[in-house]
Subunit: 316 residues, 2 copies
């Protein structure tokens, strides 16, 4: 059944994101099963009627037998262990991941000699909750799902992974791993860092400040409710890109502080910030058409389209 | 009809906040009318059935005749003009305001020799929209409404303003002007500054970054959609308190940057940020009872209760 688009999906790690992939894939008609390292997590999934075990070898041998698409959904610190198991028990399966950062995952996949069938991925969705209990088959509906078009990616695996993302209800953004990592430093990792800082400053104001807090503080600190270890697992592997954007943020905030101190004015900050938010609100994805996986130069063409805000809404 | 709790309310400035006070007061059974400097704004309110004129003198002479409670709802830059009109046409009315920052408003009121019947106020509610069109009678439902208990505030005006806030559906937080201003620098003005910075950094990533942006960026930049002039009018008058908290934020972010650069770790930031957000989520107002306006030491007692997270839910 090689190549059959809805053959089978094996999800490794059934937390918020992996669990949601498992649910969404099953809802879309895939044969889907999973592995979760903690037996209690696996049990929770089984209690909801999903086929999840805490035995990686069993899940992966079945993946090898059925030519399943393997989806790695564990946080970065657990990646090496899981890839080592994939190498041992299902080295020829198509492999993707839903881990935040892309270049370090690709490097790990390379170290484990699993690059041949690998396509890195990152669905841009989440909540401040985590674990199977927070997972949902609708998490990826109308979201964007970044998919690597780096040199060496092959058309067949790419198509299979893209089809899963589309079947989960997402639009596919083709992107180079390094460009992805620099982009998410700005729109996913920096929001985490600033939310943590805002939560710290609010709490330093004591009960009076926290009691007066309204919508702007609530929304601005929402993602600070995420478990600290999970934030670290998301942000720290992207340190190089995050450091660059953090340095720039410190420059922007220092300039605003100096302007407020020296001229009583936040004019530049508020104008540029409003422009940035307006750009964001005006951002509309446009449908990439006419580039088929496997066509001449398809990887470079898709990368260029993604860079300009294009998305794949179908594979036809 | 002096002292009758629902006698009359005159709102000066019928934008988002003032307009919502007018709607909420009318819905609660007050005789309520308003003034708006722009005739088009006044007309919009009249089209919705509210009694709003663009003639300050007319609105204020009526306030003087009917012993109305005057609510100043104009942004800081328009404050002096409006207070000058109040001094000319209705100097003996009870006066409150719904402007963000409290010490500068109190100073302006003092300059206009209107302190005798003044009680500064600040309902902690808003949206990123502005103007009459965005106003709502429900904006203050279940919100907190800060009310000055500074030295010199008299019991009768205080009771009247507190009753209006309660009738708008809010809980009243008694607070000293300076403590209020330091608190809102942390939970209202800093969120604006950080949202602007985040919007700037996201937009600098171009279409790819903005196209990949999801919930954390959307929520983290929400208030950057506020008109720049309005953000400036809210934040700049609180420059002293905001500078203090901005300096501290720069220290926190610089420490996080250094830690990420030198040890690949965001452990301290994420732990402290999560603790802060948890403190916020665990914050529950408790009802102040047994302190009646006019009692011995009532101002100091209310200030101390507010400092510890207490709110007034009724005046009985």
């Amino acid at each position: 059944m090689t190549g059959h688009p809805k053959a089978a999906v094996c999800v490794l790690g059934t937390g918020l994101i992996g669990g949601s992939v498992l649910r969404a894939a099953a809802a879309a008609g895939y044969q889907a099963w999973g592995f979760n390292r903690s037996e209690s997590g696996a049990q929770a999934a089984r209690a909801d009627g999903y086929d999840v075990v805490s035995d990686a070898e069993a899940a992966l041998r079945r993946a090898a037998e059925r030519d399943a698409l393997i989806v790695v959904g564990v946080p970065m610190p657990a990646l090496d262990t899981v890839l080592s198991d994939v190498k041992s028990f299902a080295p020829d399966c198509v492999l993707t991941d839903v881990v935040s950062v892309k270049a370090p995952v690709a490097a790990a996949v390379h170290r484990h000699e699993l690059s041949a069938h690998f396509v890195g991925g990152h669905p841009m969705a989440g909540t401040s909750e985590s674990g199977w209990a927070a997972s949902s088959p609708d998490l990826f509906k109308n979201a964007v799902w970044a998919l690597s078009v780096d040199a060496g990616v092959k058309a067949d695996p790419w198509t299979r992974v893209a089809r899963l993302a589309l079947d989960c209800g997402s639009m596919v953004v083709p992107v180079l791993a390094e460009e992805h990592d620099r982009a998410v430093a700005r729109i996913s990792h920096l929001p985490h860092v600033l939310a943590e800082a805002l939560a710290i400053e609010g709490a330093a104001g004591g009960k009076l400040a926290l009691g007066l807090a309204a919508g702007s503080f609530r929304d601005g600190t929402r993602v600070a409710a995420t478990a600290p270890d999970l934030v670290r697992a998301i942000c720290e592997p992207n340190a190089a890109a995050l450091l660059e954007v953090l340095d720039d943020t410190l420059r922007v905030l220092t300039a605003a502080r100096d302007s407020l101190r020296d001229t009583d004015s936040l004019a530049d900050l508020t104008r540029a910030g409003h422009d940035g938010r307006t750009d964001y609100e005006d951002t509309r994805p446009w449908a990439i058409t006419g580039i088929r996986p496997g066509d001449h130069d398809w990887l470079a063409k898709l990368a260029e389209a993604g860079r300009r805000g294009g998305v794949l809404e179908s594979l036809d």
